[in-house]
Amino acid sequence: MTRKPANRDAFSVLDRPNSYIGKTVPRPNLDRLMQGRGLYVSDIELPRMAHVVFLRSPHAHAKITGIDAAAAERMPGVIAVVTGQEIAVVITPWVGVLSHLKGLKSAPQSAIAVDRVCWQGEAVAAIIATSRAAAEDAAEHISVAYEELDAVTDMQTALDPTTSVIHPALGDNLAFERNHDAGAVDAAFAASDEVVEAEFIFGRHTGVTLEPRSVVADWNSAEGRLTIYQGTQAPHMVQNIAALHLGLQESQVRVVCKDVGGSFGIKVHVYADEMATYALSKLLRRPVKFVADRVESFNTDIHARDHRCKGKIGVKRDGIITAFEIDDLTGIGPYSMYPRTSAIEANQVVNLVGGPYVTKNYRARARVVFQNKNVMCQYRAVGHPIACSVTEGLVDLAAMKIGMDPVEIRRRNLIADDAYPCASPSGLRFEQLSHHAALAKLIKMMDYDALRAEQAMLRAKNIHRGIGIASFIEVTNPSAAFYGVGGAKISSQDGVAVRLDAQGAVVCQTSITEQGQGSESLTAQIVGSVLGVSMDRVRVILGDTDNTPYGGGTWASRGAGIGGEAALQATKVLRKNILDVAAAILQSSPGDLDIVSNSVVNVSDGAPRIELSELARIVYFRPDTLPPGIQAELMATRHFVPREYPFAFTNGVQASWLEVDTDTGFVKLLKHWVVEDCGTIINPQLVDEQIRGGVVQGLGAALFEKCVYDERGQLTNANMADYLVPMSGEMPDIDIGHVVSPTMESELGAKGAGEAGTAGAAAAVTNAVNDALRPFGAIITEIPLTPQMILTALGRI
């Protein structure tokens, strides 16, 4: 491969005077959010706006034999009651498949169920009224006759011949299967000194964004345009999907995304109730607002994980790992989600298992099955926590079997830092990772030897603490390989337009979106640094398909690496254009001029020559004074997409230090460490906070979060009191360190950091719990690690 120093000729943005790159600066516009003056979708009100409430199925699987809405329609404030058949007039069904996921199948899904419901929570009717309360009142007066059908709930028996098939036209309940076989797995196991097997179980959980999913759809029949206000991570994707299924041109749909109250992958999909809201606005020719309540969120926001993965590892007595093998099973609900599909997570698990390690012997099978439960799809760190927990769990079990320290076995098997570029056993290409440097830094940060000594000392006092280590790789900066090649109209490139306004300030429009990660800040930091203007002069516009370049948005840890590079390249062009005009005004040469602190200066002595505000005044208001033939272009647009590598892999390692109360089964998290390598760091504080937030979501999965279904497919804990999420009192302080290996694919060199925390947190905690329980000979390979599970493993209950 070529490792070209991409355009590092003219100047390096990293070294410019007054650069913001690598500096902690506060995010712009936080006051709006801190003063309660943001604009979330639930805050939006439009003239004539109606409210929609969905009546949802109480059954996991049932035929709808009749809907009587006459009484509801007579209720005060009710505008309409709309069923699945009625809404089908304006919106077509969809099928969540992509061609690169070979064999993936799904059934047509409708905005509102027609004839049959396939999970508890699927919408069966929409009630539109002048207020949400009026719509909720009316919903209670709709009578729906159901004929219950067998519910397929257990993924382990979903493929049994005796289990009913949810979508008979598909033939069976298998949505997707992928097999992978690399190297010589059987020979490697045969040649191993020890082979260890375990089954790893991951609970179904969900995102619990604090702001529920919300949409305001506004069809203007005179303009023939639909404006969708939605807290989405991918506005152009929503534009494409809405237009496609409403029979509109994309130019007839505008998606506006203001403040978003948490996303984490929950808001990167298009949901049936959102589609229904778009359609209702068109049908009723007025703005319609949908805000999910918390029960609806639990029943309809995508769920995630829900895997049972059998794993096997071979190891030599000297600690060398000989092979990995996995057999993963996951249940995705009744439909593959649209438009990203529900096969991506299983596919990622196959891709990522064994990823940090040298061995090339790897066999994997992943099967994805349908169930009558809520839909399952991509949530933060898609597949990573599964792959990491299985891999790192197996590595610890192997170490335990041969009596080797968990750190030592990793040292002996992690890919060497000077071995790149190279490929993983699943064929993923790595440009440059830093597992050993990261592990060494982690060991130092946590003072590993001292912790081991403390652990031994406390064990003697019957206090059981554990240390868990988890190395991981993370998929970031995805190219078209993720979705585009499979036919999804989900852009992998992003665009940035940047212009100098008439007072010498900068307006920047970017196609990446903001959900709190700091997209606005990193864009302003890059633009300010490259151009030579202060950040307070840079205004960033995001989240509006009418007013930004076309692009993917913010998901899969792509904002900084892809959108950031587009910002850098666009600003370089603007800078050149400004210097060309400045040279003409100053009768100088562009090469002799630079822009520093909002002024054009001499390169030679730094002396200010002309302020940008003055330059802009001349260009916009007195162009007649410019030399003949000079046409200033104070706006520039550039797009970027990685081409050389399908994904920019990052790496890292986490450690957990915790105490298990062997009487109560409670786990107390004492400390957590992360070292990760996301390449160039634009804003250290934002990166660290992304990682901390990601870790805590991973800790939630490890200890608390689970959607508990009964055998009839009823979600039994669909509220915040019964579904536990991490609270401040239980969370540890998290120390973060970095190794920096910039990607050479971009001038910026940034990779993503949004999912590193979630990728490895549960694996580190599980390994630490098993380390703590070692004197009892108990091993647990299931999360969440509830007190009940720990006491059961200890034989106490």
Partner: protein, 160 residues
């Protein structure tokens, strides 16, 4: 249902209006007063996003009916911001990036200010305990704890 008259004070402004008896305080503030800084996250008193100050004490505005606020005084995030009461706390949140999506932040600031009024110099454990009724899904809490700790220290410094 018939609207009933209520009068109360919201951020120092006298309000004289009619509401349905079933209307909760959060919806009253958001829909009637258009004070949308009070956020609704769970509507059953768990997440803390709707925290406001009522007669000097912090409450979940989703668990109180508007009619229960009769003759009372309600302060929301907009009021605390405009009065400058929590300007230092907000500055500490900004400097420490103690918010990401910002949806929990108004409630978080309300709870933090409540703690700092009761306990001038709380330790980290005390801060974590006091905020346990306010969920944040973005930050992992540490930055929030740091920002409150910093504010407490600065206020204590000013006081001495």
């Amino acid at each position: 249902m018939t609207p009933v008259p209520i009068f109360l004070e919201v951020n120092g402004e006298r309000i004289d209006t009619h509401v349905l008896p079933r209307l909760n305080l959060a919806d009253f503030l958001r829909e009637h007063m258009k004070l949308t800084g009070t956020h609704v996250g769970c509507e059953h008193g768990v997440c803390g996003a709707c925290t406001v100050r009522f007669n000097g004490e912090i409450v979940r505005s989703c668990l109180i009916l508007a009619v229960q606020a009769q003759e009372g005084s309600v302060e929301t995030i907009e009021g605390l911001s405009d009065s400058g009461e929590i300007a230092d706390l907000q500055a500490a949140f900004r400097d420490r990036n103690a918010l990401q999506c910002g949806f929990c932040t108004p409630g978080m600031l309300m709870a933090a200010q409540d703690l700092l009024q009761q306990t001038p110099e709380p330790d980290r454990k005390k801060i974590r305990e006091h905020l346990s009724g306010n969920y944040c899904r973005c930050t992992g809490y540490q930055a929030i704890i740091d920002a409150i700790e910093t504010t407490a220290r600065l206020r204590a410094g000013r006081a001495t």
